[in-house]
Amino acid sequence: MILNLKHHITRLIWISLVLLVFLLIAFSLGLSIGPTQSGMRSAFSALFSIGDSDSVLHSIIWRIRLPRVLLATIVGATLSLGGLVFQALLRNPLAEPFILGISGGSAIGAIIGILLGLSRFPGICFTSFLGSLGTLALILIMSTGKSILRKDALLLSGVMVNAFCSAIIMFLVSITQDARLHNIIFWLMGDLSAPDLPEVATLGAILIPCFILVFVFSHAMNILMMGKDMALTMGINIKAVTLILLIVTSFMVSATVSFSGLIGFVGLVIPHLLRLVLGPDHRFLVPACLFGGAAYLVLCDLLARTLPQQGEMPAGVITALIGAPLFIILLKKSRK
């Protein structure tokens, strides 16, 4: 029996709930664990007693851990959704914003913003977005014949653009004499520690409408699986949908890059994993990627700051260390 409306909505709610619980568990762990041993109970009591006089733990939880875990949630959701969208648009399992160079372009824009001394919002966010649009345009132009959806061409141009962006980033880093250099390098590898609560809240406020927009297009992405021609005959305005999705996704990704640098493999691994479990329907995959990606990055960040004896690793290192082998395993599984 085919899924009808009621079943569909029930299934959607179940999936969202399960992953939401996952996310909440990850969130709690992230809040409770850190250099200051506090344990989950005191962490939560500090969280919920606003204006309490035990101000040290309160400050730590509210001003340091909460913004960080919240940022990991938002960035994880964005990156995995970005991967999902690119994989749908390009019908290529290797597509994600990092591999295609969109993140690289955003990083170049962000570094230029940092060197110009702009504030993170709106200055660096804006330059980062311009950077992502620049690489997006470059990729599209390089791979275009008549169709902007010719899959392999897009991926190839993306890989080239990514290599080019990496070279430019290395160049910018090498000529920076600043004391800011160290921080730029660390940020480049994925740094979720920088912003405070208001900034993270602003980021969330900007991105949530983007998430909703992508969800609205989730069935269109299903139809796109049939190919560009077929989707046209089904009444989908291919050019508009593709362009909107590409721009919105680039915007989301560039916003997160300007906050937290380059974090890869989230957009690659999470959609694949969820597709194995939940099937190919994007109406389920979109919310699943949001919650699943968020939980994943929160946990990766937790590892990044607890594994090393002193200091912390960049989050991007952990996602790569876990993501690359995980992706290979997933590939093998899906081949069968």
Partner: protein
Amino acid sequence: MKSAFAVENLSYVYGSQYVLQNLSFAVPQGEMFIVIGPNGAGKTTLIKLMVGIIKTQTGQIEILQAPIGNYSQKRLAQLSAYVPQGLPVGFPFTVEETVLLGRAPHQKVLGLASQNDLEIAQQAMMFTEIGHLARRKLDQLSGGEQQRVLIARAICQQPQVILLDEPTASLDLSHQIRIMDLMEKLKTEKGVTVVMVSHDVNLAAMYGDQLLLLKAGKIVCMGSPPEVLNFKTLEETYNCKLLVDNSPLGNLPRVTLVPRKFLK
């Protein structure tokens, strides 16, 4: 007679080459209209123009008595459906999910299936006899089964016109007949106008109400099968030796290819 399609002075250029030159013809409603001709004749381009995948450059296409440009993409999808030769490799959905996709032009943005949608999909699957395959993944099916799924999907669009691009290419004999019988059933039971491109001249002869013979982007001949399928026209068009006689099945032309060893 109301026309499903009315094409006037249609030309199409790709790069510097004329793919179609000055085509004018009409397709009556409720008929099976088959486009035949050698490779490179522009048949696929013509079908794509008629279904709206490609935008017209010069000339006019009217579908259901209104210019094709007047319809919104969505409205067009409610009136005409397209059956391609196959779907991209790695298409991940099951048979029933694929068939349900065909309801999209009649659904809202998220495409959540209503009871009505489900019934229509169910009927389409019964019509094409694929009900037993409902849960299977599309890429696990044979060519003929896949084609039936694509047709079921098209039927879900509840179109008045259905366009097919070489639906029987690379299918085994039993499936070839099965598909064509399906199209005939669609035409007679549902009154759907069927427009298809075919490479098989004999199938075209057995099923087509009207044939359109294309060569190098120009119309060679148009009419009923006996009118179009005379051996002189065919020999010149296909540039090979042929024999045309009457089919034992009835008042139909039958085209036989003549291998060199039989030439005197």
